[in-house]
Amino acid sequence: MDQSAASGALVDSIRIIGFLCNWCSYGGADTAGVCRFKQPTDLRVVRVPCTGRVDPLFVAKPLIYGADGVLVSGCHPKDCHYAVGNLYARRRLEVLKNFLSFMGIDQRRFRYTWVSASEGQRWQQVVSEFSETIHAVGPNPLARK
């Protein structure tokens, strides 16, 4: 493979960052892979122990610095490996979601959702839909400043 093409890709393609909790959604993404459910290739996954670990600033920073989308996914409410981490996350991320567009950042660039380790199909659907949304919204104008 041509290396310049590969490094050029960093500049040209859509970049979506996914924060996935280790116990549910990361497993769900694994399940989707094991089942060979085809998905867009835009997503880069950061594994975190729990959505509760996801400081909203981890979402805001990439969007400010030009990532095209951020997806946070964790265990379904009431099914958190740490009991309530996702319930805190739900509030914090919902507040952030409502805040982004006030600052001029398209709030469609951020989504949070719940996917369990068994829901490979749901994961495929979530990733495909979100990627489709981001492609429709287009590259982040804040990028490459």
Binding site: G66, R90, R91, K145
Partner: protein, 301 residues
């Protein structure tokens, strides 16, 4: 000790005073130029020495300041028992910068509020202005002119000038603009930021001070690079750290040397917490800030 306001280097500039004995009481003043929220001094060390056992500290608060106290008490950063609160119903304080720039007056001797007018006395004569013209933006949208917590109320309570439904009219006006326009607005506003951190230092709830992640290397959220994303991120940090906590005292905006409307950012977050989590900061000392708790059966999220 009692913390209050006193005359500064000129009649327009009031300064915080720290009364240590009866003899200091004469230094206390109260007028529309008493702009500072003094509650930060209670938690930001330096000026207030640790209390001796059983002693209390006195503090003068306006309506907005009293909400800061409530927020600090909620988070157990202050104990109610250690305070003696002098509550002052407040008709509004001035945007001194605007007064100096726009009134064309110099040699100002005093400023008083009479009804809905402002009377500015300079060497020559008394000038009357509509109050709205020089009140600070935070005061124009004030919903809590009366202290929500106090031991002694200094004057009679007054009627708020803003109805609750109008509380976020500045936010709403901003939201009437397109996403693109908002983006341009904040880009040009925040691009002026010189990261002097005055907004943070003035905020009574910004308790990290010199450990603020805007400045530390461990962890390294921000660099010293001067560019727009860094400035954006700094203001996101400041705002998100105040989400569900900010009492809209407006100090951050007042002290900004670049005149960036930074309180507006926090107003938006407060509007969100009100609409989404049905919470208004700094009113109930027993309540828990909404992002420090959870509700398994949250509706509408």
């Amino acid at each position: 000790m009692v913390i209050g306001w006193g005359t500064g280097y000129d009649p327009l500039h009031v300064t915080p005073v720290f009364l240590r004995g009866l003899e200091d009481v004469s230094r206390l003043i109260w007028n529309p130029l008493c702009v500072q929220n003094l509650t930060g001094y209670l938690v930001k060390g330096a000026l207030t020495p640790p209390l001796e056992e059983g002693k209390k500290i006195g503090i003068c608060v306006r309506g907005c300041d009293s909400r800061s106290l409530v927020a600090l008490i909620q988070e157990k950063l202050l104990s109610r028992e250690s305070l003696h609160i002098f509550g002052i119903p407040c008709r509004g304080t001035l945007d001194v910068r605007r007064l100096m720039n726009e009134s064309g007056l110099s040699q100002i001797r005093s400023v008083t509020i009479q009804g809905d007018h402002l009377v500015v006395q300079n060497d020559e004569e008394a000038h009357r202005f509509p109050l709205e013209r020089f009140l600070a933006r935070r005061c124009l949208r004030c919903r809590h002119p009366n202290p929500v917590i106090y031991d002694e109320l200094v004057y009679q309570p007054i009627t708020p000038r803003t109805a609750p439904e109008d509380a976020y009219r500045d936010v709403e006006a901003m939201e009437a603009r397109s996403l693109q326009e908002r983006h341009l607005f904040w880009s040009s506003e925040l691009d002026r930021c010189i990261r002097c951190y005055a907004c943070r230092n003035a905020c009574p709830l910004c308790i990290c001070q010199d450990r603020c992640i805007a400045e530390t290397r461990e962890p390294r959220w921000l660099t010293q690079r001067v560019n727009l994303p860094e400035k954006f991120l700094y203001h996101f940090i400041h705002a998100l750290h105040l989400a569900g906590r900010c009492t809209e005292c407006g100090e951050c905006e007042r002290v900004c040397p670049m005149e960036i409307p930074v309180t507006l950012i926090k107003e938006k977050l407060n509007q969100i917490t009100r609409d989404l989590l049905h919470y208004e900061a700094g009113l109930d000392p027993e309540a828990l800030p909404p992002l420090l708790t959870y509700n398994p059966n949250e509706a509408g999220i």
